[in-house]
């Protein structure tokens, strides 16, 4: 339990992806079975518990200590699990610290009252960090800033010879915690476990961003198919031997969130496509899709209001055939027949976009034909002869996104970064001009936040500007001088706009980043909120 607690503790304060990988990899290398497998399952969300409610834990601690002292402590710390972990008045003569697997076994097997009897003994035996980890584990959701995908990356590095993460992902849904067979294979002690598990996830093939200047000169348009890149989330829909599942492109199982999609899967096979909300065959906004995402269960109302659909790009298996080894042209033919057989309004085909020259395609990208292509993120280019290869191989597939939207906005607040950037003010909130409803004065209203898009050299210059032009400090945040004739203008690039009730300005940007720093531009000449509102109205009017 101690090593697991230390891992969670470090992960919760570590920002860097590489550092997180090192922490998880080292833990998995150094911890014996089955503890490490249970830890991995907890990190990937493959096991979670709901063994104790906060109220129960609070009651247990208040039986042992003065409630007033507990209240003051809780007020100070602000987090119940952490407070209890720190203040827990351990009774002397406690048992030895429980192993993680002991705790997991009990949580899996015991009834809630039984577990509640065990909890106090565990808390007595553990140190504060161990108690904190235990309480997080028992109340569900570790929330230490580690994605399941990153955990699997660390798994791929466990052995002396790293394996491709795609192999781990393909195996994943055929395995069960605590994954002793997986570790045995990674450490060269056993053969690779079988992935022949009906309904499993196949690692996705991803595209490189195209380099317009270099790539078009050497690529022959006749070798490539083009299709629109839809603005939803990439998914894999599986129907094999009676097992029907929907996965994200990283292999998270989201079947329960999308029962409408799962019910629509009739033909036996595996579709790669885009998950969208569609009404009458027309793509709805990403904001609509968000109403369906990140829910564990879904009610009838949401199903009716935000009907989900798949727009299919590719076919990875058909009946017993693994089609990934076939060229794209062949897979596409099979996909067209497959989707026709499905015959469901919830599953349609992503149409090909015919073209003869790169110039013609560039014109289509700049001014897409009427209908759904107008809200596409851009184009995908796929070599007709490409097999379906896990990962992001260079050459067979390219994405060619539409040019981003741009506005000029004024830097309003700057916040210290994390890790490498902790000595820099590197997170910027920027705003545009609007007329204040009460005073009628022209004021700045925040419209977004960005923390990348600039070089290290530019970061140093912006950091200096922030320090030299600080108006006020609020902890790690500084407000920066922002007046018509004094301040800093950023050209901000973003992918789209949505209405937002959370932002005072009423709009929220998708994927904003700094595209240029306009040292030359007086803030007074930055954009108005009205400009953003017009952009939004145009998108909605399609």
């Amino acid at each position: 339990m101690k090593a697991f607690a230390e891992l969670l503790d470090r992960l919760s304060l570590t920002g860097s992806r590489n550092a997180k990988l090192t922490l998880v990899r080292d833990y998995l290398r150094e911890t014996p079975d089955p503890d490490r497998g249970w830890a991995l399952a907890a990190l990937t969300g493959d096991i979670s518990f709901d063994a104790a409610k906060p109220a129960f834990i609070r009651k247990a601690v208040e039986e042992r200590m003065d409630p007033q002292l507990f209240r003051w402590s809780y007020d100070y710390v602000g987090d119940l699990a952490e407070t209890v972990a720190l203040v827990w008045p351990a009774r002397p003569g406690a048992n030895r610290e429980p192993d993680l697997s002991e705790v997991v076994d009990a949580l899996r097997g015991a009834t809630r009252p039984e577990v509640q009897r065990l909890i106090e003994g565990w808390l007595d035996a553990l140190q504060p960090t161990g108690r904190w980890a235990l309480l997080k584990l028992m109340t569900g959701g570790l929330r230490v800033g580690l994605t399941a995908r990153l955990a699997k990356r660390a798994v791929a590095d466990v052995g002396a010879e790293p394996v491709p993460v795609a192999e781990v992902e393909e195996l994943w849904h055929a395995l069960h915690a605590p994954y002793e067979d997986l570790f045995a294979w990674l450490e060269g002690r056993a053969d690779k476990p079988s992935s022949e598990n009906p309904g499993r996830f196949r690692p996705a093939m991803l595209a490189q961003a195209i380099d317009e200047a270099a790539d078009f000169a050497r690529l022959d348009p006749a070798d490539y198919a083009a299709e629109w890149k839809w603005d939803g989330i990439r998914v894999q829909a599986v129907n094999e031997a009676g097992v029907r599942r929907l996965y994200t492109r990283t292999g998270d199982d989201i079947s329960r969130t999308f029962p409408d999609i799962v019910d629509a899967l009739q033909a036996q096979g595996v579709i790669d496509g885009e998950l969208l909300v569609m009404r009458d065959g027309k793509v709805a906004s990403f904001a609509d899709l968000q109403q369906r995402l990140n829910r564990k269960t879904v009610d009838a109302k949401a199903l009716a209001a935000f009907p989900a659909a798949i727009r299919a790009y590719d076919l990875l298996a058909e009946g017993p055939d693994d089609t990934r080894v076939l060229p794209f042209a062949e897979r596409r033919k099979r996909l067209e027949a497959f989707i026709a057989r499905e015959g469901s309004p919830r599953i349609d085909l992503s149409p090909m976009q015919p073209f003869a020259t790169w110039a013609e395609l560039a014109a289509l990208r700049a001014d897409p034909p009427a209908g759904d292509p107008q809200v596409a993120e851009g184009l995908m280019l796929k070599r007709w002869d490409s097999i379906y290869e896990a990962g992001r191989p260079k050459g067979p597939w390219f994405k060619w996104k539409r040019d981003p939207l741009l506005i000029d906005a004024v830097l309003m607040y700057a916040q210290r970064g994390h890790g490498k950037r902790s000595s820099f003010y590197s997170d910027y909130t920027f705003g545009v001009w609007t007329d204040d409803a009460e005073t009628g004065k022209r004021v700045l209203t925040p419209v977004g936040k960005a923390y990348f898009g600039f070089t290290d050299e530019e970061l140093k210059q912006i950091d200096k500007h922030v320090r030299d032009n600080t108006v006020e400090r609020f902890g790690p945040v500084r407000s920066v001088r922002a007046e018509p004739h004094a301040g800093l203008v950023f050209e901000v690039a973003f992918e789209g706009l949505q209405r937002s009730t959370r932002h005072k300005s009423g709009v929220a940007m998708r994927f904003p980043r700094i595209s240029r720093i306009r040292w030359d531009k007086p803030p007074g000449e930055a954009d108005e909120l009205a400009t953003l509102e017009r952009m939004l109205a145009r998108m909605e009017a399609r």
Partner: protein, 336 residues
């Protein structure tokens, strides 16, 4: 009937002893002062006569210059010094080098001003000595039950483990310049680390002073020279404020650590951008505070600075009458 407040009472300048005409750790310049230890909020320059341990006087001279007071008098631990009708004895407090409790005796009444103290072992200063007393005047910096400092050894082991785990990064450890920094270095040496430790310029003079007082810190080097690559896999110790400042940019992708009792609370660590919090404090934690009160069982407990209300409540619940003194000027949210 002699009352404790006739011997010691709070004034704006600090805790005042009328029968001996002196202040303990005054926050403003006064004619006669007794100084418990060298931290800046307790030891200020500009007093008339100063009584303190030789180590504390040495620290004050190093920080403020030789003329930090009009006159000084050194009192070794245990030596009884008369101040008018009052006997003053300085007794180890276990806080930092030279730190002392001021034991004040007058007409059969014994009061102990703890200054800042801790109960656990510290390789850089002698351990706290409990003195039976009528009134114990305690600090309460960590006077909440959430503060339960783990064993130093475990925290140092976490640091060394992280150094081994991230050999391409430098570990930048924030530690208060007086006491904490030297204690961390000694603890690292005790844990078997004998490589050069790099230090910020602000620590150099105090490190040398500790050396003169017999605390062997092992090989040290300034962290101000060298190329970025030189610090890979190394430990650098700096005052807490420097670890987030532009000064820290010279280091390769540092793991920012901070050695402080405040690091017990995750939100504090997150707020400061600390990746590796080390819960190592020179103050008594909740268990040490309450154990000390329980051990001494004073007739009254006075609480000077920190989280008075919680410690006062604990004392009341355990049958020790307690009151908060509301002394101003001591850092409660400082760098520990």
């Amino acid at each position: 009937m002699i009352r404790p407040q006739d011997l010691l009472c709070p004034r704006p300048e600090g805790l005042y002893c009328a029968p001996g005409d002196f202040y303990v750790d005054p926050v403003r310049p006064v004619a006669r002062a007794v100084i418990t230890h060298g931290h800046a909020d307790h030891a200020r320059a500009g007093h008339g006569a100063v009584l303190a341990t030789p180590q504390t006087l040495d620290i004050m001279a190093e920080r403020y210059g030789l003329d930090f007071a009009a006159s000084t008098q050194a009192a070794a631990y245990g030596e009884v010094v008369a101040r008018d009708d009052v006997d003053v004895t300085l007794v180890p407090a276990g806080h930092v080098l030279g730190s002392a409790q001021a034991v004040v005796r007058w007409k059969g009444l014994t009061m102990v001003v703890s200054g800042d103290y801790k109960r656990r072992r510290d390789p850089t200063c002698p351990a706290f000595e409990p003195v039976p007393c009528d009134v114990f005047i305690s600090e309460a910096t960590f006077g909440l039950p959430v503060f339960r400092h783990p064993a130093d050894r475990d925290e140092i082991a976490r640091l060394l483990r992280s150094v081994a785990q991230f050999p391409q990064r430098c570990h930048l450890v924030g530690a208060y310049a007086l006491g904490k920094a030297q204690r961390i270095i000694r603890l690292l040496r005790e844990a078997g680390s004998d490589q050069t430790i790099y230090v910020h310029g602000a620590l150099e003079r105090l490190n040398a002073l500790y050396g003169r007082h017999g605390i062997d810190l092992g090989p040290l080097a300034p962290a101000t020279t060298g190329k970025k690559g030189d610090f890979e896999g190394q430990i650098v110790i700096a005052p807490p404020s420097a670890t987030q400042d532009r000064w820290s940019r010279r280091f390769p992708d540092p793991v920012t650590a901070f050695a402080s009792g405040w690091m017990q609370v995750r939100a504090r660590a997150r707020q400061r951008g600390v990746e590796l919090p080390l819960v190592i404090s020179d103050h008594a934690d909740w268990d040490e505070l309450t154990a000390t009160i329980d051990e001494l069982r004073p007739g009254e407990l006075w609480i000077t600075h920190g989280r008075e209300e919680a410690l006062a409540r604990w004392a009341d619940l355990h049958g020790v009458p307690a009151r908060a003194l509301d002394l101003v000027g001591y850092e409660e949210e400082g760098d520990d």
